[in-house]
Amino acid sequence: MNFDPLVIPFLAGTVFLLLVVSSKFFNWIRHMDSMQLSVIKKNFATKITIQAICEIFHESLLHRKIFKKNHRLGYMHMSLAFGWFLMIVVGKIESLFYYGSFYDRPWLGIFFKYFARTPHHYFMIIPFSFIMDLFLLVTLSGVMLAILKRIKSGSLGLKKTTNHILLDRITLTALWWIFPLRLLAESSTAELTGNGSFLTGTVGHLLAFLPVEHIEIPLWWAYSICIGTFFLGLPFSRYMHIPTEVILIFLRKWGIQAGEQSSGYTNIQLNSCSRCGLCIDACQLDYAAGINNVQPVYFLRDTRYKQLTPEIADNCLLCGRCMEACPVGLELTMIRQQLRQKPELPGKNYYDYSLSPDNTTKSDIIYFAGCMSHLTPTIIMSMKKIFREAGVSFWFMDEDKGMCCGRPLRQQGFLQQSKDLVRKNTQLIRSSGAKLLVTSCPICYHSFKNEYSLDIPVMHHSAYIDMLVIDKKMELTDSAIDMVYHDPCELGRGCGIYDQPRHILQQIGNLLPVESEKKDSLCCGGSLSDMAIDANTQKKIMNKALEIITKSGPDILVTACPLCKKTFGQNDKTRVMDIAELVATNLKLK
């Protein structure tokens, strides 16, 4: 007996799934940039591909990243994914032993116990049955945890879990039912034929009070229908992340990065989101301001189903905390920027008021304060003092009539305008013949470093001051004050500058630890990237962040960003200083 109509729902679902998923993949890869495609060609036949396979094993099956962050949640994902995977693989091997042919009908492994009713014909029955029962038990424990998580998300260490759409709920229910139904179906067969092990055999005995011979077939049908339903819903629901994440890991390993424009790769990232909702707890807009429909999980979902509104696309601080939380490693802020893209007018020249390169002062070092620093003049005064004390001559590029670096425009999707400013600032910087650009604003720093192609190094003033101190160009005095350091988003997560500011501060006073620091640092709320929230909401975010940062009761809160200083400066409890100001007041004068 090798066929029974009850495998038809499973078969139909599988064929449908394979057709839809492969056509989607084909479409996405076709719509990728030609640059991206050439990167794939270059790295296709290298050892990177093997590394990618290892990562797929670690992330898609074992869910190592989630496990490191939250053991219970990691176990839930691992038991479901890896447990089911092993059931499929070992089921196939088991049927290979039983039937003696690898190219046998594909459903024989999935419905093994139903078809292999004469188990005593092969010698490996006991270990195989035992292993299969064990995997089923592990997977069932995952399902139990998943149900528990739906009922009470706190039980798995989450504050909030995703609010799913109907299609996701249907597919989710089908997935949950697959395993209990498999248990019941296998148990009833085990009771009739004696092919069960510790789990199915025992449950089979418990079922003995029922007319097992009559319920066996309906149970197998229900099992098959559940798999079929799950496969039918998979390509259109959150579960599309299962096949897509595999492709994403390959592409990422081969060196593909999200560009400024959306492409097929954006679609691959959108579909790789499993809607696990880990980004929700990370988002300050949710827990500090009560905005609960803009988090990446909802933003990506709306985009995928073509229901994205500008209000949702615009409402994001682009602080990057969600990217740190995302177990799939999606480039969430870049995707957000891509989808904020505004219509362009080709050939239009926007900012015709560029300073001519004749106004440039020739100098080895350029100081670019940035627009925001002009609202915190003490930062500029401090930097001037520091340059003077270190005996460095510099050209203050935006002292009088500066231009914006272009990053705020870029973040709002005005790419063409931004490129215009980039071109003009680049001309000015090149014409000065400088060898180093120092900036006081992390937004400008990020922009000069990543969006400009300057051939000179760019430094934020915190790193520059640290360099001056290490080179003994100036000395700091120890003033024994208690302080905490706040990592600005663009400087820390954006550019990876964590150690230099701390190194300076440790020489000046006692640097107290902060609960959320470095990669987990909070946003001050004043981010230029979010135009959708008003001043009150910004203040709510600021207050909540301040409360966490100043828990240890420091004398001053030190930051390295004029915008953070302005935003935190609104509070009347803790004094806020920029690192340059603190250094300027603690210089050992020569």
Binding site: S262, T266, N267, L270, T303, K306, L308, P310, A313, D314, L339, Q341, K342, P343, Y350, Y351, Y353, C371, M372, H374, L375, D400, K401, G402, M403, C404, G406, P408, L409, Q412, F414, Q417, L421, G526, L528, M531, A532, D534, A535, N536, L563, K566
Partner: protein
């Protein structure tokens, strides 16, 4: 004649009975903080773009409110969205969002429907 660096504005009249205020209604529906503006001009005083041009958020805001769309699109294009005006505003008006929205309302709202 001596050039003093400033000049008298051209005389013009705005007929509020016939002015097109539909777009302004659309704007304040989205960004109600626009109504809080007291036209103090702090935004224009701090503006990075006004160092180079005669761009003024206050002026653009008044023109948009009164349906004076002539040249307005070109004026708004001078803004670099740097955000200084937002920080100095004593009334908490979301100036950058208003500029960005005025730009898009003038371009054509329909272009903004995001399609992938």
């Amino acid at each position: 004649m001596k050039d003093w660096g400033y000049k008298i504005s051209k005389p013009r009249t705005i007929d509020l009975d016939t002015a097109d205020t539909n777009r302004y209604s659309e704007l304040i529906e989205k960004l109600p903080s626009a109504k809080k503006c007291i036209m103090c001009g702090a935004c224009s005083a701090t503006c990075s773009a006004s160092n180079h041009t005669n761009f003024s958020f206050r002026q653009c805001h008044i023109m948009f409110r009164h349906g004076q769309y002539e040249n307005l699109s070109g004026e708004l294009d001078k803004c670099m969205l740097c955000g200084k005006c937002n920080l100095v505003c004593p009334r908490g008006v979301n100036t950058r969002a208003i500029i960005s929205h005025m730009r898009l309302l003038l371009l054509d709202m329909n272009n903004r429907n995001i399609a992938l």
